[in-house]
Symmetry: D2
Subunit: 138 residues, 4 copies
């Protein structure tokens, strides 16, 4: 269950056929792309846009990813990804995720990703202050 003391962004979409594989279920890499899209959606729902971050010359680079696959989603399922900030430091941020069926609530995947801020040269930097204000966990 997403924690009750965090800002939670919920993103919903249908499973695309291209996201399935020959097992007849969603391919395990497709969820990684959904987690990323739920981060984009998180930032939009807080009133900002990750496009602006990159336009200013900064990136949030993924440095670590942990995913647990609990049950398989299938083509056409309406998916909900809950995304929240688990921790925010001066140079790093950790997001957590819960991927479930939007109507039945069945849990498919839980995950966590850690990111650091980098500049255009790929060097670690502080998370810019005007972006940071949209990333407070609560």
């Amino acid at each position: 269950m997403p924690p009750s003391d965090r800002y939670i962004a919920n993103t919903e979409f249908y499973v695309r056929y291209a996201e399935t594989d020959a097992m007849g279920i969603v391919h395990h890499a497709s969820y990684i792309i959904w987690l990323e899209e739920s981060r984009s959606s998180y930032i939009r729902s807080r009133g900002y846009d990750y496009v602006e971050v990159e336009r200013a010359g900064y990136f949030l680079s993924v440095v670590e990813l942990k995913v647990r696959y609990r049950a398989p989603a299938r083509y056409g399922d309406l998916i909900r990804v809950a995304c929240w900030v688990e921790s925010l430091a001066s140079r790093a941020i950790t997001f957590e995720y819960e991927v479930s069926h939007a109507t039945t609530g069945a849990l498919f995947v839980t995950g966590e990703s850690r990111h650091i801020a980098t500049n255009k040269a790929g060097q670690p930097t502080l998370i810019p202050e005007n972006f940071r204000q949209y990333l407070t966990p609560g």
Copy 2:
């Protein structure tokens, strides 16, 4: 412009970061996946579900694809895909598409895909009648 004498299904979504490439724009294969998703959405908007087609043992297999790339979409753009049936025969169907920016209307891509109905063994077959009624062009 989508034709005025056809049923048009419009599908909207944001460009995902994973759909971009090192040119800084949407990768040309990503649009192919959007066209497919717009077909899924077309069928849903007509009141059916492609899941049911496959459950009954039938597939719509892509046999031909033509895409013209007119301008590049970018991460975060809100995309609209207009999808309609260009022609419907007993064993084949052709969809056409227009991919544009949902708010500015700027045109990114136009395309066309031809499909045949197949059974589980991969053999060509008639488009099942109970599916066919949702595919009439007008």
Copy 3:
């Protein structure tokens, strides 16, 4: 059959599991990525590297794509993509492709892609002379 009067680059690789879909076969967008990789391989086999083109500030942008799907490839198949230059103009180039099974020779897909040279601003430009010499059809 690839034409006998052209330089043909053959690229071989195994079908990856992620490239399949719930029909149990290779997803139709996966072939588009193979065609692109066969272009990269074509340029390498001619003694150049597309990395250098982009480093110099130029791109080959896809403007048109036509693909015919003749039979489905499956996970684990050893694929061969034959790629050649169909026509070369001052600002545009057309590649053609044949995707087949590397050991049985069974034909999966044929295709064609048209590209124009662009600069970093996305404006059409001449194909740079030092790149052009590696793209002569014969």
Copy 4:
């Protein structure tokens, strides 16, 4: 460094353009697909084929994934993925991976994936004996 007491399968390929993103580097989900392909390659190099496993009605389902991103790979880089079995149990197997530049040796990614054997109904099962013999770590 891959451990010295394990069977190591090395798989090499070029970074495909489609695997990059707008940061100009390889997208973080692309590595997940490379890890999977290195498992396919591991099984082939041991003298078996994962195709046979599925033909017999069994699957190795991913249940957990951990990835650390250490430096970014780029389009055209020649990649080497080292893959080995970290642990093998009656119903589960853990693979480990090291993704590096095949010529410079620069390390890009390390990872680990845990899998369980399932049957066609998706139920956990023993790893079939005739497959198991190819998965012994040493």
